[in-house]
C-alpha cells in the first residue's frame, strides 16, 4: 500500500515481507551493501588483529645456532612458534654476551674469519628495517658500508627508525654491538671487522594473516605496481596480458557463436536437425573440455590456437542446446498466425523464428559468455602458459598472493561489466520487450548511489531552493 507523498513508502514499511517489492531507495542501498559487505569483512579480518591473525610477519629475522631453517624478514611464522624463536635467539645471545664485553680488539681469535662471516649476517639482519624506513633502497641491502653507518646512527641516536621501530631489547643490542664494533673501526672496512661474535638481533614482527589473505591496502598497492610496470623482453605488461586473455575468451566464444547459433536455431526449428544433432551434442558436453587439451595442442600446435579451441569446445555444445531450447520456446501460435497470413516455410524462419527469438537469444549469449570466461584459466594453461593465468601461476607459486588478487578481481570485473553493458544495450536493441520499459538497472543505480546522495544532501542545505527543485521535478 502506497501512502504518503510522491509514492514514498511510509517509514513503518517492513523490511521482511514475503515477495513484496522493496522501495527503489532500499533496493539501491542493498545493492551497494552487497558489494560493501564482503569488502568490510575483508577489511575487518585484515585490520582487526583479534579476529584472526594466526601468524607473525617478521620485520627482523635472526639465525639460530645449529638450526638450518632460515627465516628472512617478510616471512610469516605461527603465533605459537614466534616466542620460541625469540627465546632460541636470546639463548644464543646469552652465550655470546660475556666474550663481547671483555674482548680485545687487537687480538684476532683463531676462528676469526668464520666469525666475521656470521657477524656480517647479523649486520645485514637490520637491512629490512632500514629499507622499510626509507634509509636504504632495495638494491642496497648488501651494501655493508651503508648498513654499518646505519648501526652507528641508531646506536648514537642520530637517527631513530619509526616504521617499523626497534623495540628496547633490540635498541640495547644495537648499542652493545656498536660499542664493540666501533672499537675496531668507526667505518666499515672488510679487513678490519670485528672478529668476536656479535649479539644477534631478536626477531621482531607484527601479527598478521597468512600470506594467502593479504590486506586490502597491500593488494591495492601491489596491484598498482604490477599494472603500471612497463613491459620487459620476456615479460609482457599487465595490460598486454589482459588483452591476450580477452582475445582468447572472446575469440573462442565468437567462433562458438558463429557455428553454434545457426545450428541451435536449425535444431529448434526443424525436428530433423534436432533429432540428428542434439543427442550427440548432449552426450559430448559431458566430456570435460580440459580433457581435450593435449589433443588440441596436437591438432593446433603452439600459440593461441589450441587455447581458443578449448574455449570453443567448452562452450559450443552448451550453446547449441541452449539456443535450440530457446528457439523451441517461441510461441507456437505466432507461427500458426504467420501461416494463416500467408508465410511460407522459409519466411517462417526468417520473418518469425529469428526476429521472435532474438531477445532471448541475446540473453542466452550473455549467460554463455560468462560460461566462456570460466574456461579462461584452463585454456591459458594449455601448451605454453600465457596471459593473466601465467602471471597468476608464477606469482601464486612464489606465494605473492597480493599480486594474484588484483588479477582475479580484474577478471571478475571485466566479465561483470561486460555483462552489465550488454544488459543496458538490450533495452536499446529490443525496444519491443516489456523489460525495455523497466526501471534503470540496479547496478547502474548503485554506482550513482553515492553521487546522488551527496547531491541531495547538498540540495537540502539550500532551504529556499529545495522546495522549488522538488516541484520542478514533479512537473
Amino acid at each position: 500500500m502506497e501512502t504518503g507523498e510522491g509514492g514514498k513508502k511510509p517509514a513503518g514499511e517492513p523490511w521482511f515481507a514475503v515477495r513484496r517489492e522493496l522501495s527503489p531507495q532500499r533496493a539501491t542501498l542493498l545493492t551497494v551493501f552487497s558489494f560493501a559487505l564482503p569488502l568490510l569483512v575483508w577489511c575487518a579480518f585484515s585490520y582487526l588483529p583479534f579476529l584472526w591473525h594466526p601468524d607473525v610477519r617478521l620485520e627482523i629475522s635472526a639465525d639460530r645456532e645449529n638450526v638450518t631453517t632460515v627465516y628472512v624478514a617478510g616471512d610469516r611464522v605461527s603465533r605459537e612458534f614466534f616466542p620460541e624463536f625469540q627465546e632460541a635467539v636470546r639463548a644464543g645471545n646469552r652465550e655470546i654476551e660475556g666474550g663481547l664485553v671483555s674482548f680485545d680488539p687487537e687480538v684476532d681469535p683463531p676462528n676469526g674469519s668464520s666469525v666475521r662471516r656470521a657477524n656480517k649476517k647479523v649486520l645485514r639482519h637490520l637491512a629490512p628495517v632500514l629499507v622499510a624506513n626509507g634509509w636504504l633502497t632495495e638494491e642496497q641491502t648488501k651494501d655493508d658500508g651503508a648498513i654499518y653507518d646505519a648501526w652507528r646512527d641508531i646506536a648514537t641516536g642520530a637517527r631513530i627508525p619509526d616504521s617499523p621501530d626497534l623495540d628496547d631489547e633490540n635498541l640495547a643490542i644495537v648499542s652493545k654491538n656498536w660499542s664493540a664494533m666501533s672499537r675496531v673501526s668507526p667505518t666499515y672496512d672488510s679487513d678490519r671487522f670485528i672478529s668476536v661474535p656479535l649479539l644477534s638481533l631478536v626477531p621482531q614482527g607484527r601479527s598478521s594473516n597468512p600470506d594467502y589473505l593479504p590486506a586490502p591496502h597491500e593488494v591495492v598497492v601491489t596491484g598498482f605496481r604490477d599494472f603500471t610496470a612497463p613491459a620487459e623482453a620476456e615479460r609482457p605488461s599487465m595490460w598486454e596480458r589482459v588483452g591476450h586473455s580477452v582475445r582468447i575468451v572472446f575469440g573462442g566464444f565468437a567462433l562458438a557463436m558463429l557455428v553454434g547459433v545457426p545450428l541451435g536455431v536449425l535444431c529448434g526449428t526443424y525436428p530433423v536437425f534436432s533429432k540428428l544433432l542434439e543427442p550427440f551434442t548432449d552426450f559430448f558436453r559431458y566430456m570435460p573440455a580440459p580433457t581435450f587439451s593435449t589433443l588440441l595442442v596436437a591438432i593446433f600446435l603452439a600459440n593461441d590456437a589450441p587455447k581458443i579451441a578449448l574455449v570453443f569446445v567448452g562452450t559450443i555444445f552448451q550453446l547449441v542446446l541452449v539456443v535450440a531450447n530457446t528457439t523451441r520456446g517461441l510461441d507456437l501460435p505466432l507461427l500458426e498466425a504467420a501461416q494463416t497470413l500467408g508465410a511460407k516455410q522459409r519466411q517462417l524462419l526468417t520473418s518469425v523464428v529469428i526476429p521472435g527469438i532474438l531477445p532471448n537469444l541475446y540473453n542466452d549469449l550473455r549467460i554463455l559468455l560468462g560460461w566462456a570466461w570460466t574456461w579462461l584459466v584452463i585454456a591459458e594453461l594449455v601448451g605454453v602458459k600465457s596471459g593473466l593465468t601465467e602471471f597468476i601461476e608464477t606469482q601464486g607459486r612464489w606465494r605473492n598472493f597480493d599480486s594474484v588478487y588484483p588479477v582475479i578481481i580484474l577478471i571478475g570485473m571485466i566479465g561483470f561489466f561486460t555483462d552489465q553493458v550488454l544488459a543496458v544495450l538490450r533495452r536499446f536493441l529490443f525496444p519491443w520487450t516489456s523489460e525495455a520499459a523497466a526501471k534503470a538497472n540496479p547496478i547502474i543505480r548503485a554506482i550513482f548511489f553515492l553521487p546522488n546522495l551527496l547531491r541531495r544532501a547538498a540540495a537540502d542545505r539550500l532551504p529556499y531552493e529545495a522546495p522549488r527543485t522538488r516541484q520542478a521535478e514533479k512537473a
Binding site: 504467420a338 494463416t340 497470413l341 508465410a343 521472435g356 525496444p431 519491443w432 520487450t433 520499459a437
Partner: protein, 302 residues
C-alpha cells in the same frame, strides 16, 4: 433478466418476422464461400483412436456471419483449425469458392483467442505482415495498412508495440492484420474469450460494424450463448463426443443488432434453444451438488 419466460413456446425461435425471413431468403441465394463436406477427424491416443469430429457438413454463404457453438469437447476448435489448414482432416473435404483447400493460406484469415501479434513489430508493421509475405512492398502497402488501422480505430497507436496495448486493442489489431490480406473468409477462434465483459461487448459491436461495412464472410467460434445470438445470422450447434452437427439455428433477431434486443422474445428464445441443445435436461440434473448450510441462524441474506 436472463431467466426464460415459462410461457415461452419451445419452438418460438423458429418464428421469423417477414423482414427476417426475407433476409434469410436473400442470404441463401448468395454463392457459397465455404463448404464443409463430410468432415471427420480422429486422433490416435494410447487407448485407441478418439473421434473428435464425425460427418460434419455445412455451407457458409457470402457475407454471412456464422457462429459455431457447442459444449466443451465438441471439437469446435479442431474444426476451425482444419478450416484454417493448421490441421489435416482425417476424411472429407473443405471447399473455398468451390475449390478444395489444404494447408494454411492468406485466403482464410484467422484471429486466435491468444494474442498472436508479433511482439517485435509495431502495430503498422503487424498489419503489413501479410502483404509483405506476399512480396508486396512500397508506399501503397503502408497507406493501405493505415486504412485498416483506422478501420479498427487505432490510428494513434500505429507505431506502438503490442506490449503497450490493452487486450482489446491487441485483438483489434489482429482483426486488421487478418483483413489486410483481403481473405475470402475470416475465421475467429473465441477471439474475445480472454477479454473482460465490458471490452467484449464493445468488441462485438465493433466487429458487427466492420462486418457491415466490408465484403467479408465470418465464421466465429464461441462458447458464449449471448455472443452467438447477438452476432450470428446462423448458429451451428455441435454435439460433443464425437463432434457432430446438432442443429443449425437461424437467429430470428432482426438486424441491425443492439444490446437493447437482449430482452426481446426472439433473442431469449434463441438462447433458450441453444441452452437446451448444449445442456440437455437429463445432464443438468445429475450435475446438481448437495449444498449443506454452514451459517448460523439470524443472518439470512435473502
Amino acid at each position: 433478466m436472463t431467466t426464460t419466460e415459462p410461457a415461452l413456446h419451445p419452438l418460438r425461435y423458429l418464428k421469423q418476422s417477414p423482414a427476417v425471413r426475407e433476409r434469410f431468403d436473400a442470404l441463401k441465394k448468395r454463392p457459397v464461400v465455404l463448404s464443409v463436406r463430410n468432415l471427420y477427424k480422429t486422433f490416435p491416443t494410447p487407448g485407441g483412436s478418439v473421434t473428435a469430429l464425425r460427418d460434419v457438413s455445412f455451407d457458409v454463404y457470402r457475407r454471412e456471419f456464422m457462429c459455431v457453438i457447442g459444449p466443451s469437447g465438441c471439437g469446435k476448435s479442431t474444426l476451425i483449425r482444419i478450416l484454417a489448414g493448421l490441421e489435416d482432416a482425417s476424411d472429407g473435404e473443405v471447399l473455398l469458392d468451390g475449390n478444395p483447400v489444404s494447408g494454411p493460406g492468406p485466403d482464410r484469415g484467422m484471429v486466435f483467442q491468444s494474442y498472436t501479434l508479433f511482439p517485435w513489430l509495431t502495430v503498422k508493421q503487424n498489419v503489413m505482415f501479410g502483404p509483405r509475405m506476399a512480396g508486396k512492398r512500397g508506399a501503397t502497402v503502408e497507406s493501405e495498412a493505415r486504412q485498416w488501422i483506422e478501420l479498427v480505430g487505432l490510428s494513434r497507436f500505429e507505431n506502438s508495440y503490442p506490449h503497450q496495448l490493452s487486450g482489446g486493442m491487441k485483438q483489434r489489431v489482429a482483426i486488421a492484420r487478418a483483413l489486410a490480406n483481403r481473405p475470402r473468409i475470416l475465421l475467429m477462434d473465441e477471439p474475445f474469450g480472454a477479454l473482460d465483459a465490458q471490452t467484449r461487448c464493445q468488441m462485438q459491436s465493433y466487429l458487427l460494424q466492420i462486418w457491415k461495412n466490408l465484403d467479408i464472410t465470418i465464421l466465429f467460434i464461441t462458447h458464449d450463448l449471448d455472443e452467438s445470438a447477438f452476432l450470428a445470422d446462423r448458429i451451428l450447434v455441435l454435439k460433443a463426443n464425437p463432434g457432430e452437427v446438432n442443429e443449425i439455428i437461424e437467429v430470428p433477431v432482426p438486424r441491425p443488432r443492439s444490446s437493447d434486443q437482449f430482452i426481446t422474445s426472439e433473442f431469449v428464445a434463441t438462447k433458450h434453444r441453444i441452452d437446451q441443445l448444449i445442456h440437455p435436461e437429463s445432464q443438468s440434473k445429475s450435475d446438481e451438488i448437495p449444498f449443506p448450510r454452514m451459517t448460523v441462524e439470524g443472518d439470512d441474506v435473502e
